[in-house]
Amino acid sequence: MLTITDLHANIDGKEILKGLSLTVKPGEVAAIMGPNGSGKSTLSYVVAGRDGYEVTEGSIVLNGEDILAMDAHERAAKGIFLAFQYPLEIPGVTTMTFLKAAMNAQRKQRGEEELTTPDFIKRVRAAADKLGVSQEMLRRALNVGFSGGEKKRMEVLQMVLLEPKIAILDETDSGLDIDALRIVAEGVNALRSPDRSFLVITHYQRLLDYIVPDSVHVLSAGRIVKSGDKELAHELEKNGYRDYVADAA
């Protein structure tokens, strides 16, 4: 599904990712854990194709296709979805308008028909109900005045509607209370399927009690320094990142 090999990436001339390699298989849920500033968000941005990041070495291959030359919106249409650590507000653009624009933009790129309005509304209603997103929220400008938890739920709603091949969740658990966390996790779990993968970036073991990962990777100073199964997350919870930070330094 996703193969990252020896990835080196700079921002403003500073190297943040320093030879990162990672493979995520179809249907796999991979957790990325690591201390603050280790490059977790940077990894998600580079995979999603954000401007301003310079890849100096290595490759990112999605389903056999090198995606490094593609623009962000092209990668989105190929099935890469990023749930942002800090979702953006788009004043004046209602959530409904935004969702429709996004869904149809991806369909257009893939050469598919645009959604009819009734079909679109049906899909949004169904997904919103499951995630506890109210009709009122859908009518408001996207993320404007939403609480932290509402914004995260809105990210998951978008993920459900856009049906990605690989979803990267960047600290989607931060700022969520336990009920919201459960709803979000259920949303993710409902999407798990043999041909969809997840990269779950988190700081805490807590989320992984709800979204049980197939693999856990420790990111430190721009590299994956240890990989294991879900037990690794528990170990990190107990001992912290001390050992790995030292290793990397």
């Binding site: 999603a48 788009i90 653009v93 624009a101 978008q158």
Partner: protein, 492 residues
């Protein structure tokens, strides 16, 4: 950063040059010689078979104009206009005016098609059966002479007069004489005075007391003759307790020379009357080097003459090389209300200096100004607004909100408010913000599948939403498209 820069570059290189309405219609003109003097003024008046008082009115304006100086206070730069190098009269060659739409030059109908005038309106223009449900009357001003007028009968039934002003001078001279120049006096400003001397044609609307105009009135203006200054004159009168909504939309063919447009629009609202005036303006802005394009120096003013009257201006400005335009309201009647909703988009090398004036004269008058300026490319976008309360304007209230959005870092946005209150009980509120489309927002939208241009258009449409909502439905849709077209790289 790079995404924004790329958008800006695309906008600059692709869109501006590939201006989709850049074409020229070939209709022979019956033109007066170049230049301006008393004889030309008399020629124009004679061509239209005007009453003697009208000829004299024009001549007085002309003499006044000779003593005036071109204003220099606006934040716009352009080469000096040689007023002797312009034509002041041009008309499609067609001796007696057409009796019906069937007689309209097919070339003109094709022009409407290229302009993307909505199908139903083209049907109305083409006289298609059933198109009447739309209930939008189109009085097409093609160059200087109106060649198509529709829905006359239905309007006449309601007692509404909607016709070219040249026709009104023949059929209702007393009404024209009573109101013409009472809102924008002959002496008002350089361009308005020039317009008074040489105005070609325009629309005339009179809504009788207590009548709610049964349809929205709509005019498409075109500028079509080479080097022809266009001097439209519009006069709208809403008598006591009446209501009218008027839509004006413009596009223009591509040109090498700059073209001057100096229109005057006068609105008069008597007691309890309401006038809603909406404009979508999309004149040729010039090429990517800033060559060509329309100079749009317009005087638009509404007079809330009666108590409890209301005038509301809504405008979407995307075109012209230079825009100099301040639709204003004189709030003379007690409890009268003025509104100004504006979206002004500048791109390429465009220069926009626009805004409004709200002059509070009566008691308990109120006004509201919502202005959204969007600057991209190397353009300059200035909001200039004046709010004034007279000594007697007890309880006057104004709310002003001016937001500017910058796209890229080679453009400029400026806000120049003038606020003056001579009555202690007046309450004026002013809010202003300037923001940039952030790289974060662009990336967020692109991550969801929108291209950089689509993302920019979406964010801009959100930014202007408050104003778009003020437009009549069909205009709002058109305006939204126009905004996308003027900012996206995609053409057509």
């Amino acid at each position: 950063m790079a995404a924004v820069q790329e958008t800006v570059d695309k906008v600059r290189s692709v869109e501006v040059d590939a201006y989709k309405y850049g074409f020229v219609t070939d209709i022979e003109s019956d033109m007066a010689p170049k230049g301006l003097n008393e004889d030309i003024v008399r020629f124009i008046s004679a061509k239209k078979d005007e009453p003697e008082w009208m000829t004299q009115w024009r001549l007085d304006a002309y003499k006044r104009w000779l003593t005036m100086q071109e204003p220099v206070w606006a934040r716009v730069n352009y080469p000096k206009i040689d007023f002797q190098d312009l034509y002041y009269y041009a008309a499609p060659k067609r001796s007696p005016g057409p009796k019906s739409l069937d007689e309209v030059d097919p070339e003109l109908l094709r022009t409407y098609e290229k302009l993307g005038i909505p199908l139903r309106e083209r049907e109305i223009l083409a006289g298609v059966e059933g198109a009447a449900e739309r209930r939008v009357a189109v009085d097409a001003v093609f160059d200087s002479v109106s060649v198509a007028t529709t829905f006359k009968a239905e309007l006449a039934k309601a007692g509404v007069i909607f016709c070219p002003i040249s026709e009104a001078l023949q059929t209702h001279p007393e009404l024209v004489r009573k109101y013409l120049g009472t809102v924008v006096p002959v002496t008002d400003n350089y361009y308005a005075t020039l317009n008074s001397a040489v105005f070609s044609d325009g629309s005339f609307v009179y809504v009788p007391p207590g009548v709610r105009c049964p349809m929205e009135l709509s005019t498409y203006f075109r500028i079509n003759e080479k080097n022809t200054g266009q001097f439209e004159r519009t006069l709208i009168i809403a008598d006591k307790g009446s209501y009218v909504s008027y839509l004006e939309g413009c596009t223009a063919p591509k040109r090498d020379e700059n073209q001057l447009h100096a229109a005057v629009v006068e609105l008069v609202a008597l007691e309890d009357a309401e006038i809603k005036y909406s404009t979508v303006q999309n004149w040729y802005p010039g090429d990517s080097e800033g060559r060509g394009g329309i100079y749009n120096f317009v005087t638009k003013r509404g007079d809330c003459r009666g108590d409890r009257s209301k005038i509301s201006w809504t405008q979407v400005e995307t075109g012209s090389a230079i825009t100099w335009k301040y639709p204003s309201c004189i709030l003379r009647g007690d409890e009268s209300r003025g509104e100004f909703y504006s979206i002004a988009i500048s791109n390429g090398h465009q220069q926009v200096d626009s805004g409004t004036k709200m002059l509070h004269l009566g008691k308990n008058t109120s006004s509201r100004i919502i202005s959204k300026g969007i600057a991209a490319g190397r353009s300059d976008n200035t909001y200039r607004g004046q709010v004034f309360a007279h000594r007697k304007a007890k309880g006057a209230r104004n709310f002003t909100n001016c937001d500017s959005l910058l796209i890229g870092d080679t453009c400029g946005a400026h806000t120049v408010p003038y606020i003056e209150s001579r009555n202690a009980s007046a309450v004026f509120e002013h809010e202003a913000t300037t923001s940039k489309i952030s790289d974060d927002q662009l990336f967020y939208c692109m991550q969801r599948g929108l291209s950089g241009e689509e993302a920019t258009a979406l964010i801009v449409n959100g930014f202007v939403r408050d104003v778009l909502q003020q437009l009549p439905m069909e205009f709002a849709v058109e305006a939204q498209k126009l905004i996308a077209v003027s900012l996206e790289g995609s053409v057509g």
